[in-house]
Amino acid sequence: MDLNSSLPLGNLQCEQKVLKNTDGSAMYTAGETNVLVGVYGPADCKESKQDVKQAVVEVNFRPKIGIPGVAEKYMEKFVCKICESVILRSFHPRTAFSVIVQVMQDQGSLLSCAINAVSMALQDAGISMRCMPVAVTVALQKKEKEDNEMKDDSKKFVISPSTKDEEESVAIATFVFDSAQYDSISAYACGPMTSDEYRECLRLAKEASKHIVRFFRDSVSRKVSTDIR
């Protein structure tokens, strides 16, 4: 198994407070994938959508070309559920949080990039959260071998795969962890995978998520230090 290929997370960049009118915003770049997120909230909410006990979260996913379709709706739902579980919603009853995710450039691992961007934007907006969600995508690639298919060394795990890696892979899994305990919050997987392979993906993703949390911390401290200056 090739562990080396799994370690580099690609080029990570994050810029907070990029938009003027939103309460919080972040431009997050992972590898070549680039996502812009704006957050409003806690804000006034239409009466028909209010919840008496807790705040409502709404996520809007906007692709670059055309109008949002089924794939976007799925990601909206996925991100929405994560936000709902992370934000301390009971602090703000009868209000709404609106999260808008604008895809700027999609070169693979879009879902994990979007979740990390949302996480940074929520942090920028100063919304009270249980923890920060951290997402990692792992792709499983298998080389076709005629003789010994049972051999393990034909497998390759790629962390934060590019579009090309995603096309070549047999299965892709995205894991979301909490930044405090590194417990799993949510997971998404597609493609055939044995339970051992899944566990291996989870282990690698957890390892990588620690790097990303460190990156989060660095970029926030950098932002705060420039703010003071």
């Binding site: 080029n11 960049q13 990029v18 938009l19 003027k20 009118n21 939103t22 915003s25 770049t29 070549e32 680039n34 812009l36 704006g38 409003y40 909230g41 804000a43 006034d44 909410c45 239409k46 959508k49 409502v56 709404e58 809007n60 906007r62 670059k64 070309i65 055309g66 109008i67 949002p68 709404a96 609106s98 808008i100 604008q102 700027m104 450039q105 070169q107």
Partner: protein, 426 residues
């Protein structure tokens, strides 16, 4: 495949923002303060009245994608091509569609499902300036007459709104069109083969000229002129003149918003300012695209580092009107505009005096009209322009047609951009 309009309608049915549309509070006191400051020639962001904000143009990996920032206003444009049938009425032409997406991300009161007055306005203005001035060669997009042609979709995403959206959107749109490449096609007998980017080099769009919008805001009963207004300035202004002009000083579109009572001299001065601005912007855009292509060439040998490099394209573009006037004509405009910054009634009279010693590049056609540069046909009225925009008619209401026809005979071979709504038919 469902038609896009139907899809849009369906989408609108099921989406809608949950948060109540809020616009940031703007008190009467603020309103008065801002106006008072502007009347003394001071702006909130410490700019001169004729100074532009910082402009940044950045590109991604994708062809035909660019993000333009003017100050805190931010617009992303993405161009996409699709193989389609040409219009029945124009079988030998491709199509160019403009879509403006007003996301809530830009402003709390924007609704992505309904573009609103502002969104529709921007879309119409972009159509007018780019399609009607024939900036893109649509005939080159035809693959087989009446059967196959490319349809170009120009998606303009408004990401942040801090005034002067239309300038930002037009720069983004033109830059994206200029940057875009569509796949090569070969026609073998009855078959049409679309080559992938790897097989054959993709082709750039033919952009004849680059019409760019410049907006100029008027304050205090049209006494004060400010360029590149911010959101707050747009709230307190009387109205603005929005001109689309290219670097050849050809006016492609003109629009006046709000309640203004301005003189012909003021409009002409606006076109002069806009012409200089358009020239600088065109240079900036071409420069940005060149830097990007150079970077991409390097990127292929090393690795893809286009994203970081694109930030190098950011250039501080201060108006040449106030700083570093290079050419003589720019100095002249600067002098003219700054002297008459306060366009009071007296100043307008001064403007008349200035007209007598008019600059060499201003060609006077008759008493009321003149054009920038020499030898351009006055396309503002004349025989074929009965259906032209009302603005131009109003401008030329009291001129003698005899003088006009002479001018046109002289320069009839010159290229004329006809501003006519009838050219945009569906």
């Amino acid at each position: 495949m469902m038609p896009i309009n139907l899809l849009l309608k369906l989408y609108k049915l099921f989406h809608g923002i949950t948060i109540m549309p809020r616009t940031p509070a703007f008190s009467k006191l603020e309103h008065e303060f801002l106006l008072k400051a502007i009347s003394t020639g001071v702006r909130l962001d410490q700019r001169d009245m004729l100074e532009y904000r910082k402009i940044g143009i950045s590109f991604g990996i994708d062809y035909g994608c660019c993000t333009v920032e003017i100050g805190e206003t931010k617009v992303m444009a993405q161009v996409a091509a699709e193989m389609d049938r040409p219009r029945e009425s124009r079988p030998s032409e491709g199509r160019l569609n403009v879509h403006v997406e007003m996301s809530t991300i830009a402003f709390p009161s924007f609704d992505p499902t309904k573009p609103g007055e502002l969104g529709v306005g921007i879309q119409r203005m972009l159509e007018r300036s780019i399609i009607l001035s024939r900036a893109v060669d649509l005939e080159a997009l035809c693959v087989r007459v009446g059967e196959k042609s490319w349809t170009i979709h120009l998606h303009v995403h408004v990401l942040s709104h801090d005034g002067n959206l239309i300038d930002c959107a037009s720069i983004a749109a033109i830059t994206a069109l200029k940057h875009f490449r569509y796949p090569d096609v070969s026609v073998i007998g009855q078959d049409i083969v679309i080559h992938t980017m790897e097989e054959k080099h993709p082709i750039p769009l033919t952009v004849h000229h680059m019409p760019l919008y410049v907006s100029l805001a008027f304050f205090k009963g049209c006494e004060r002129l400010a360029i590149d207004p911010t959101y707050l300035e747009e709230k307190v202004m009387d109205g603005k003149i929005i001109l689309s002009i290219n670097k050849h000083k050809e006016l492609c579109s003109l629009q006046m918003n709000g309640q203004m009572n301005i003189t012909k001299e003021q409009i002409l001065r606006c076109t002069e300012i806009a012409a200089v601005r358009a020239k600088t912007l065109t240079e900036l855009i071409l420069n940005a695209i060149k830097t990007d292509t150079d970077d991409k060439k390097l990127g292929k040998t090393k690795s893809q580092t286009v994203l970081e490099k694109s930030k190098d394209n950011k250039e501080i573009l201060k108006s040449e009107l106030t700083v570093n006037s290079q050419t003589s004509e720019e100095i002249q405009i600067a002098n003219m505009s700054i002297n008459e910054d306060a366009v009071t009634d007296d100043a307008i009279k001064n403007g008349h005096n200035n007209k007598t010693e008019k600059p060499y590049w201003l060609t006077q056609h008759d008493r009321q009209t003149c054009s920038i540069g020499d030898g351009k046909v006055n396309a503002w009225s004349g025989d074929g322009a009965e259906s032209s925009l009302g603005i131009f008619k109003a401008l030329r209401a009291d001129t003698q047609p005899e003088e006009k026809s002479e001018d046109e005979n002289e320069d009839s071979e010159e290229e004329v951009v006809i501003l006519d709504d009838s050219a945009l038919e569906t």
